[in-house]
């Protein structure tokens, strides 16, 4: 997309712009400033941390990578390190939205309704993901939420989304948000899942089961009931071909229907920059092609985190480190490359090695078309 930049003032030049201050973006920025680069970190929210700011549960993963630490406690550590080690080489722009990318590598940014231009030499897009929607009658009624929205309401703003919830989706997000709903004093009527198996970690599922919440696999929603807002939900069983089984309908008395049916990479800026993309269902949809350095088809643009394929926070942080490392390397900040690169790749491969990482490995295989990607 080509557009005019006339009348828009130059804000500043920077060596690396990191777009998005979630786990991937924070890690990318920290690694790049550690290597010696000047970094501008841009986030549209007033606080850094992305999705971490509402993850009140303990993280899984490697003890070296914040496992057993609560997600909400991770941004503070990363931000403190950024401030301490970045000094005047880190600039954090909050409440600031990146509106567009220009062919000359510049970014149009907006803060307080003022548009400015940022001139980075390299860009790392760490824009995250958006929640997927599910089509069913009544899905536009007030009371139908994305699970991430419910988590934001509860854990960021302290607002109860309702009194009794039907959770759709038994992946990790559905399981974790159900747990947090119960912790917040909200009743969860059931978690339903279309697949014949629970998709999330079974320890999460067990934790929720012993709180008395049923998990119904091979079940789907038929419709949301209600005139002005959700007053109930009709669910039914699915056969092995995902067809509804007539006569198995039951109505649940709920005022919230919460969707946790997957995420899609937030690739608008990557599209607009014309990075080459590939449709890979295992990674959540269209994802930018990139090499093992997290560099896209445009050599000045890197990606990290969910925008590069839906995964989870631990691997997002490592992918961020890799993107930050190589973006800095590209500018001549090449300290200790071999050791750091080997360390980050080893950590990433360990996380993805098990059966839980099979889908990601499959997706990356498709993305690379046989070549090596990170």
């Amino acid at each position: 997309m080509r557009c005019s930049r006339e009348g828009v003032s130059l804000l500043r030049k920077t060596e690396i712009a990191v777009v998005g201050g979630g786990p991937a973006g924070l890690s990318a920025a920290l690694t790049a400033v550690r290597q010696g680069a000047n970094v501008t970190l841009v986030d549209r929210d007033p606080i850094l941390g992305g999705q971490l700011v509402k993850q009140t549960h303990m993280f899984f993963g490697s003890k070296r990578q914040y496992a057993a630490i609560r997600g909400i406690d991770i941004p503070a550590e990363l931000i403190a390190a950024l401030e301490k080690e970045g000094g005047d080489r880190i600039n954090m722009l909050l409440d600031t939205t990146v509106l567009g990318y220009y062919d000359d590598g510049s970014l149009l940014i907006e803060k307080d309704e003022q548009a400015r231009v940022l001139y980075p030499e390299r860009v790392i897009f760490a824009t995250g993901a958006a929640e997927k929607m599910l089509p069913f009658p009544g899905n536009d009624l007030p009371g139908v939420y994305g699970a991430g929205a419910v988590q934001t309401l509860m854990n960021v703003y302290g607002i109860k989304p309702g009194n009794r919830v039907l959770m759709i989706g038994a992946g990790n997000i559905g399981l974790i948000v159900s747990y947090q709903l119960v912790q917040a004093g909200v009743e969860v009527a059931a978690i339903i899942e279309g697949a014949p198996k629970i998709g999330g970690y079974l320890v999460h599922a067990s934790k929720i089961r012993r709180a008395g919440i049923p998990i119904l696999t091979s079940h789907t929603i038929v419709e949301a009931k209600g005139a002005e807002s959700v007053e109930g939900a009709v669910i039914c069983k699915l056969d092995e071909n995902w067809n509804s089984i007539p006569g198995t309908e039951q109505t649940l008395d709920v005022d919230v229907i919460c969707l946790a049916v997957g995420l899609s990479p937030l690739t608008e800026l990557v599209w607009q920059a014309c990075c080459e993309q590939v449709y890979v269902p295992e990674l959540g949809g269209y994802v930018p092609k990139r090499n093992e350095r997290m560099q896209t088809s445009l050599p000045n643009i890197y990606v990290a985190g969910d925008v590069a394929g839906i995964e989870e926070a631990s691997s997002a942080m490592i992918c961020g480190k890799i993107a930050g490392l190589y973006a800095a390397d590209d500018l001549g900040y090449s300290n200790n490359m071999e050791q750091l690169s080997a360390e980050f790749n080893r950590e990433l491969n360990e996380l993805r090695a098990g059966e839980a990482g099979a889908k990601i490995r499959q997706g990356l295989e498709k993305l690379s078309g046989g070549g090596r990607v990170c």
Binding site: L202, I208, A353
Partner: protein
């Protein structure tokens, strides 16, 4: 079954259980983690070397009940809240189940609560013997429940009487 309902099978529970002989010797941890996931904090939590060192982060934890002294440090270190301590030596007719409990308000010492099994069904009444909520537990308090011996391998949570979790 576990992957359909979230409830471990009796075989899985049995496999995780310490032997009768070990139970007679005092408190011991049971690790009810049955799926290979990339997660390893438990091996670092154990000071006794009872939770074996992982070869791969995706390993399912292996605990040597003979080397475990039942200290319970691992309980609040497990992100999956899948580790419990069982003490069959508590009294003649009751044993202790120490469970991680991240719901508020916490129960009071001496309170009688409803012990819940792995499916969330009522198993028995349980007396709260102790509530550990030190800062080092990092917001995962551990509640000691006294339950009849035949409920030691059943009770994994509780509900406060009057409806609250």
């Amino acid at each position: 079954m576990l992957e359909k309902t979230g409830v471990p099978t009796p075989e899985q529970v049995k496999r995780a259980a310490p032997t009768e002989d070990r139970l007679k010797k005092g408190p011991v941890a049971v690790v009810e983690c049955f799926q290979s996931i990339p997660c390893d904090p438990c091996q670092y939590a154990c000071n006794q070397g009872a939770i074996k060192e992982f070869v791969d982060i995706n390993d399912v934890p292996i605990i040597d009940h003979e080397e475990c002294n039942g200290c319970g440090i691992c309980i609040s270190q497990c992100p999956g809240l899948a580790i419990f301590v069982i003490d069959a030596t508590y009294s003649e007719d009751k044993g202790l189940v120490k469970v991680p409990h991240e719901y508020t308000p916490l129960p009071e010492k001496g309170e009688v609560v409803t012990g819940l099994d792995m499916a969330g069904n009522e198993a028995c009444d349980a007396e709260v013997v102790k509530v550990q909520s030190a800062k080092s537990l990092d917001r995962t308090p551990v509640v000691w429940l006294a339950v009849p011996h035949d409920c030691l391998m059943k009770v994994r949570g509780f509900r406060r009487k009057g409806g609250a979790e």
